[in-house]
């Protein structure tokens, strides 16, 4: 457990030190410290994963050593260890890009990225509903601060994002208050066996779900996401789409698969799954129509979150452990692929001097590596084998296809696949149009392009470790 807490404390410490160091540190040193601490956190997370795998059960820690019920408890399951690892990996990949590519970034990015890392780690480890509320606020504030990094044009979307995010947290908090009023507990594991399907519990869960869906930009509460994510600096967009929206999704999963009584969970399951299906198609169609590259990628996040929501809904409806695996495989595969997609989009935007999708004509010739990264990451979003996206989709589809009465859901998944294929191919097809090439404004930044490709390669590499991941998620369970 100490290792997991180190993985959480290292980025927080280094963020505080960077803030303290200020301009006394050179920009290079700042970036170096941030990346080094991310690496240390990654190693700690890996060791924590080994620890929890060796223990074979979930580890619990009563903070302050107080008795259960009085203390805040932290929980290290194989899932939270995996998410710690995933968070550190994403920060490392994106940090490397931000540090080495020519795109350059405001030095404040480094401290904020450390803070974001720490907030997410605190969220994955927490097993206390109110503590989760604070981590949500931490996440929201850092995310908004990072959107504001890109200067005055991003202030308006950042302000709207912040106001909605605060309102969403309050929905969640009111739900927590009602649950505490009803059961006198804040601890997830203590609440789980006690909840009943009565009015207060329903009301509380409804409020919390609304707040969390708003925070995670799940359909139909997703409208704030594209402007906020598209206006952030490239590295930040990648972090926001790849990681930040997964935080509230995790709490939603904890809430429904553990805290809520199973009867209620079975009732809400189909609703969530249908919302997920609509998100898939509606988000995909918006992405297809979007004139700007980054907005397209941001809408694709809305669509892809539909898969995760659908997996969660079906998990609740049938209580199938396979859906649990599918859900988290989606989260990880989407995180890596989306990081690559945003980085590639940002690089192409910078090299070609255009923000419009039309500007990508002939990109295979002018910016081949970045375009390759875009296509490869897009392939995982579509679910082409043998990518991580394929792995997740396969785990999701297997139980759907085996029984004829589940075919409508399977058709929904396939429809979503079709739409994702459409918006990815729209870009790819344009990039092969070598007749009317849009010439690059500046000499493309090779290092940046290759670094954009790195996460995409990793998501294809996920298939190699697929067996291990599935066993980890299946074995650890909750």
């Amino acid at each position: 457990m100490n290792l997991a807490l180190l993985s959480l404390a290292i980025p927080l410490f280094s963020g505080l030190l960077l803030l303290l160091g200020g301009r006394a540190l050179r920009t290079r040193t700042t970036g170096f410290i941030a990346i080094a601490s991310t690496l240390a956190s990654l190693i700690a997370a890996w060791l924590a994963l080994q620890e929890v795998a060796a223990a074979g059960t979930t580890l619990l820690l009563n903070l302050g050593g107080w008795e259960t019920g009085l203390a805040i408890r932290l929980r290290l399951s194989s899932l939270s260890a995996l998410l710690l690892l995933f968070t550190a990996l994403m920060h490392l990949l994106i940090g490397l890009y931000a540090g080495l590519s020519r795109a350059g970034i405001n030095r404040d990015f480094w401290a904020l990225s450390c803070f974001l890392h720490g907030s997410l780690a605190a969220l994955w480890l927490s097993a206390d509903l109110f503590n989760l509320y604070i981590t949500l606020e931490l996440l929201g504030l850092t995310a908004v601060a990072m959107v504001a990094l890109s200067g005055s044009k991003a202030y308006r979307p950042a302000a709207n994002y912040l106001i909605l995010s605060l309102a969403a947290s309050l929905f969640y908090l009111l739900g927590v208050a009602l649950l505490y009023g009803r059961y006198g507990e804040l601890d997830v594991l203590l609440l789980a066996p006690r909840t009943e399907a009565d009015v207060i519990t329903r009301l509380a869960l409804l409020l919390m779900t609304t707040g969390l869906m708003l925070k995670a930009a799940l359909w139909p509460l997703h409208l704030w996401l594209p402007p906020a994510h598209a206006s952030a600096p490239t590295a930040v967009s990648a972090l926001l789409s790849g990681l930040v929206v997964k935080g509230p999704l995790f709490i939603l999963w904890v809430l429904w698969s553990e805290v809520a009584p199973p009867t209620l969970a079975q009732q809400i399951g189909p609703v969530l799954a249908i919302a997920g299906m609509i998100a898939l198609t509606a988000g995909g169609l918006s992405a297809m129509r979007s004139p700007h590259i980054k907005t397209l990628v941001a809408y694709s996040t809305v669509a892809q979150l539909g898969y995760a929501l659908m997996a969660l809904g079906l998990l609740l409806t049938w209580q199938l452990p396979q859906m649990h695996i599918a859900l988290w495989l989606f989260v990880i595969a989407h995180g890596l692929a989306k990081a690559s997609l945003f980085l590639a989009a940002g690089e192409m935007q910078a090299s070609l001097g255009t923000r419009r999708v039309d500007g990508l004509r002939g990109a295979t010739q002018t910016v081949p590596v970045a375009m390759f990264a875009f296509a490869v990451a897009g392939g995982s979003l579509i679910g082409l084998p043998p990518s991580g996206g394929f792995l997740a989709k396969w785990v999701l589809l297997e139980p759907l296809l085996s029984q004829p009465q589940n075919w409508p859901w399977a058709i929904g998944v396939l429809l979503g696949t079709l739409v994702s294929a459409a918006y990815i191919f729209r870009v790819v097809a344009l990039s092969f149009d070598r007749a009317r090439i849009n010439p690059p404004d500046i000499n493309p930044d090779r290092v940046g392009h290759w670094l954009a490709l790195l996460p995409a390669l990793m998501v294809w590499g996920m298939a190699l470790s697929g067996e291990w991941l599935i066993q980890l998620l299946a074995g650890g369970g909750v």
């Binding site: 100490n2 807490l5 404390a9 927080l12 410490f13 505080l16 803030l19 303290l20 200020g22 301009r23 006394a24 820690l61 009563n62 903070l63 302050g64 050593g65 107080w66 008795e67 019920g69 009085l70 203390a71 805040i72 932290l74 405001n106 404040d108 401290a111 904020l112 803070f115 720490g118 907030s119 605190a122 109110f130 503590n131 604070i134 981590t135 606020e137 931490l138 504030l141 850092t142 908004v144 601060a145 504001a148 990094l149 200067g151 202030y155 009602l178 009023g181 009803r182 059961y183 006198g184 009565d198 009015v199 207060i200």
Partner: protein, 322 residues
């Protein structure tokens, strides 16, 4: 309806009027003023509901900081560009709130209500927990006041993260003053001469606020009060001195300022890590030192809260970037 409910009903009515006005007053400046008044009524309600810690906190924030924040906003954005408060909105909101509240009230009185669902029969569920809490408080938490014990010992992790919330908000605010943006087009307006009187008054009031803040901090271990209440009072004093020009800009380039800003979180986190790695567990204070540790954490936290809040409220380019 018994006569004891009279003060409650008055407060409730007042609060509803303030809330209504803060949302729908035709002029935005009126809405802001009513929002400040709303805070005062809320503080009274906290006192009425036997929550003196909260009454102090609310009053400390509402009295100084929210007011300055909103006045700053009112001065920066004088005209409301589009006023869409049509009558239809008023009636819609009124109908919405009244219907929903009546439904809730009616629900309170039915069989399947909150009462029967256990929300209001607190006694049975709560008593054992509260007793164990009280025992722990009397025993070895290091402080006597239960709210402080919860904040700094039982749920210290929440408080640590809460210090980070302040810090992250400040980091966000700093992004609004990019390095390149010259100093500066908005802070140049002339300071009115009539406000010399305010400076004189600030000289009297600020020491009073500092003394009261120190007292609240000291008293927090045994009675209502504590780091946050003290920090907000100190912040109010700093804001007042800064606004009247009695205090020079708090320059971010000074390492002491940065140290003061991160001190609370850094010290708290260090204590957590040290107790975790070499001690009995994360945030488990050694019994002999728990009182000392808690008061040191509170002192650092008060410092950080005071500086961070004052920067959040009045920090300009000179304070945050230069």
């Amino acid at each position: 309806m018994s006569p004891e409910l009279l003060p409650d009903l008055t407060l409730i009515l007042l609060l509803l009027i303030m809330a209504w006005g803060a949302l729908y007053a035709p002029q935005r400046s009126d809405a802001m003023t009513l929002f400040i008044a709303f805070g005062v009524v809320v503080a009274l309600i906290w006192a009425r509901l036997d929550a003196p810690d909260l009454a102090l906190a609310e009053a400390a924030i509402g009295a100084g900081l929210t007011g300055v924040l909103l006045m700053h906003a009112a001065r920066a954005l004088p005209d409301e560009l589009h006023r869409r408060n049509r009558t239809a909105t008023y009636w819609g909101a009124l109908a919405f709130a009244v219907v929903a509240t009546l439904m809730f009230l009616a629900h309170l009185l039915t069989d399947d209500s909150l009462l029967n669902a256990g929300l209001l029969d607190g006694e049975t569920d709560m008593t054992p927990r509260l007793r164990s809490l009280a025992d722990a408080t009397m025993g070895d938490s290091g402080v006597e006041h239960p709210v402080t014990a919860v904040l700094l010992n039982f749920r210290a992790w929440d408080t640590l993260l809460e210090l980070l919330v302040l810090l992250f908000a400040l980091s966000g605010l700093r992004q609004l003053f990019p390095r390149e943006s010259a100093p500066d087009d908005h802070a140049t307006s002339r300071w009115p001469e009539s406000l010399a009187l305010m400076a004189a008054w600030a000289r009297v009031l600020a020491p009073l606020l500092v003394v009261t803040g120190g007292y609240l901090l000291w008293r927090g271990s045994s009675a209502p009060g504590g780091a946050f209440q003290a920090g907000s009072l100190l912040a109010a004093a700093a804001v007042m001195l800064r606004l009247t020009g009695l205090l020079p800009p708090l320059r971010w380039s000074s390492v002491w300022l940065r140290l003061a800003v991160v001190a609370g979180a850094l010290f708290f986190l260090t204590v957590a890590a040290i107790t975790g790695i070499w001690g009995e567990g994360w945030l488990t204070y050694p019994a002999a030192y728990s009182g000392l540790l808690i008061i040191s954490i509170e002192i650092f936290a008060t410092l950080s809260i005071a500086i961070t809040l004052s920067l959040l409220v009045i920090g300009e380019w000179e304070d945050l970037r230069s």
